[in-house]
């Protein structure tokens, strides 16, 4: 597989860090004078642009949250005059106002380059035909992917979302080789194709780039089996730039390379705000270092994941983030320890290489928090010997203690006994009263 920008994507660590520092300093200096919001928060924190002397100094800067963006609705976070803005996007606001972001001409070029890199990482070349089922509009998915495909020199079919039967006819007739869209819509598309008697193995896809919502390894297996392609996860959010902040490579499909010459990524403890070392799970935070119209400093994404600095077989030196496994809103604090349901899931998967249904039940007994992990027993876990079952419960409990630092009682339960809501297992029951 080829690398779109070999100089930047395979740059040694010291090189990346040198560029990051230079670009960070330039960004901070600029926004201090162009964005009143940043001047105010930096002043409050007692930091002047000249204080940023190393990458570690970034940690002294305050976070930016979704709330800050809402308070500055619609244009107050822009760092350039409106005449330099050539595009506006907005994320849908489920509560309150949407978040509005702007792009200069150069920002659009940057974004297109990042998407072109993403396509190349997913195995696409200028010879490919890209079926883009991301929605076109205020949402960044459709247009972001579109311009990246053109930048790569591929042929892009701008089908957008919806009109599913027509999409399948287009797939049969236009013979696209790369598929892009949200994983849930793509699975719906596969179902409709099945009803129409169309088998994806008769189509021509080799890769799929799916994102804009979190999806699991189980969904990857399902997508790859039903669609006869290799499924790559793409990550991005409009506040940072849109799709193309990070992507999995075709070679490994294990962690998403963050384009570090444009963004600085951190993992923080969502409670204390402290930066966590590589490998620890916490909230993903991004700082943009090349954006002109909408620079963003230490933006809290609320997505939970961890970073992996290990070199990758694809040749890219950019750090990888794991597939986001949840949102900070799902976090539990048990006896002072942050626990994410996804961490328990990882332990269960590592114990038996399976993906069991589980539920965390938290109680407060005599002022002490207790965690019970209920695991539905399936044939892979089951044994006719009580001893084996109890040993396994104990092993899972020990693993949870070791990896998460919290004591948990593991309890096997009968299949289908964990509460489900609209077909999805209810992962957490918190019986504590605060």
């Amino acid at each position: 597989m080829s690398i779109y920008n070999i100089n930047f994507e395979t740059m040694p660590r010291e090189g990346i860090e040198a560029i990051q520092l230079k670009r960070l300093q330039a960004t901070i200096e600029r926004i201090y004078v162009t964005v009143p919001f940043y001047k105010k928060v930096f002043d409050t924190a007692g930091i002047k642009p000249a204080d940023i002397k190393s990458l570690e100094d970034l940690q002294r800067l305050p976070f930016t949250t979704k709330l800050d963006l809402r308070d500055n609705y619609p244009y107050d976070m822009f760092a350039v005059p409106m005449e330099n803005i050539v595009r506006i996007h907005a994320s849908s606001g489920t509560t309150g106002k949407p978040t509005v972001v702007g792009y200069t001409k150069r920002d659009l070029d940057t974004w297109a380059e990042l998407m072109a890199r993403s396509f190349a990482a997913a195995g696409a070349t200028s010879g490919d035909i890209i079926h883009n089922a991301f929605g076109y509009g205020l949402f960044t998915g459709g247009l972001g992917v579109h311009y990246g495909a053109e930048k790569l020199g591929a042929s892009v079919i701008p089908v957008s979302g919806g009109n599913t039967k027509r999409q399948i006819t287009i797939m049969q007739d236009f013979k696209p080789t790369i598929l892009t869209g949200t994983p849930s819509y793509i699975l719906h598309l596969a179902e409709v194709a099945d009803e129409m008697g169309v088998d994806f193995k008769d189509l021509h896809f080799k890769s799929g780039i799916f994102g804009a919502e979190p999806w699991s390894e189980n969904m990857r297996a399902e997508l790859e089996e039903k669609l006869h392609l290799k499924a790559m996860d793409i990550y991005g959010l409009s506040e940072v730039i849109g799709p193309g902040v990070s992507i999995e490579c075709y070679e490994e499909q294990k962690g998403l390379h963050v384009f570090e010459d444009h963004f600085i990524v951190e993992i923080i403890d969502p409670e204390s705000g402290e930066v966590l070392p590589y490998g620890e799970t916490g909230e993903l935070v991004f700082t943009s270092i090349t954006k002109e119209a909408f620079p963003i400093i230490r933006y809290r994404t609320k997505d939970i994941t961890r970073l992996n600095p290990e070199p990758c077989t694809c040749g890219r030196t950019h750090i990888r983030m794991n597939k986001p496994s949840g949102r900070t809103d799902d976090m539990l604090i048990i006896r002072g320890v942050n626990v994410f349901p996804s961490q328990i899931e990882s332990v269960l998967m590592e114990t038996k290489q399976i993906h069991p249904h589980y539920q965390l039940v938290v109680d407060r007994i005599n002022n002490l928090d207790t965690l019970t992990v209920k695991v539905e027993i399936d044939e892979a876990l089951f044994s006719d010997e009580i001893k084996t079952l109890q040993t396994m419960e104990q092993k899972i409990s020990n693993d949870i203690k070791e990896y998460l630092g919290v004591s948990a009682k593991v309890m096997f339960v009968e299949p289908k006994t964990i509460t489900r809501s609209e077909g999805k297992a209810v992962r957490v029951i918190d019986n504590r009263k605060f």
Binding site: I377, D378, E379, L381, F382, S383, D384, E385, I386, K387, L389, Q390, M411, F412, V413, E414, P415, K416, T417
Partner: protein, 143 residues
């Protein structure tokens, strides 16, 4: 051919055992022998029945996790030391019993013991050497 045992995971909830036996009754399955091993939270119900396929299908349909285990069924003489004749040669060869339970052979006075050994194959070999008859799955179904 060895005997096959059906094992089911059940939570320790009131009436759960009766629900399992009702499912088997409705599937027209006859229970030859049954043993329940339990902890405070759950139990494993082990069954010897006359029709494994039918039992397994019916239980799975009701959402139970079902396992099939190879066990050894051995007829034990109705006399003092009958059980020792079987166990002694095995323990001498370091084959241990994981669990065992019994039921009466309806055709005579003897009991049939169901054994789960830690080393199934070795147990089978030793029993054959000692000329101790192991009852087949078919024979159990036909009892």
């Amino acid at each position: 051919m060895c005997a096959e045992q059906i094992s089911i995971f059940i939570e320790n909830k009131e009436g759960r055992l009766a629900e399992v036996t009702a499912i088997l009754r409705d599937a027209d399955v006859n229970i030859r022998a049954l043993s329940l091993a339990d902890t405070t939270d759950f139990g494993v119900l082990r069954l010897i029945v006359n029709n494994n396929d039918r039992a397994e299908k019916a239980l799975k349909k009701e959402g139970f996790t079902v396992g099939i285990t190879q066990v050894l069924a051995v007829e034990v003489k109705d006399e003092p030391g009958g059980l020792n004749d079987i166990l002694d040669p095995l323990s001498e060869n370091e084959v241990n019993v994981e669990y065992m339970y019994a039921f009466a052979n309806p055709q005579c006075k003897n009991a049939i013991m169901i054994f789960r050994f830690d080393d199934h194959d070795k147990a089978l070999k030793i029993l054959a050497e000692k000329k101790i008859k192991v009852i087949s799955k078919q024979e159990i179904c036909n009892l």
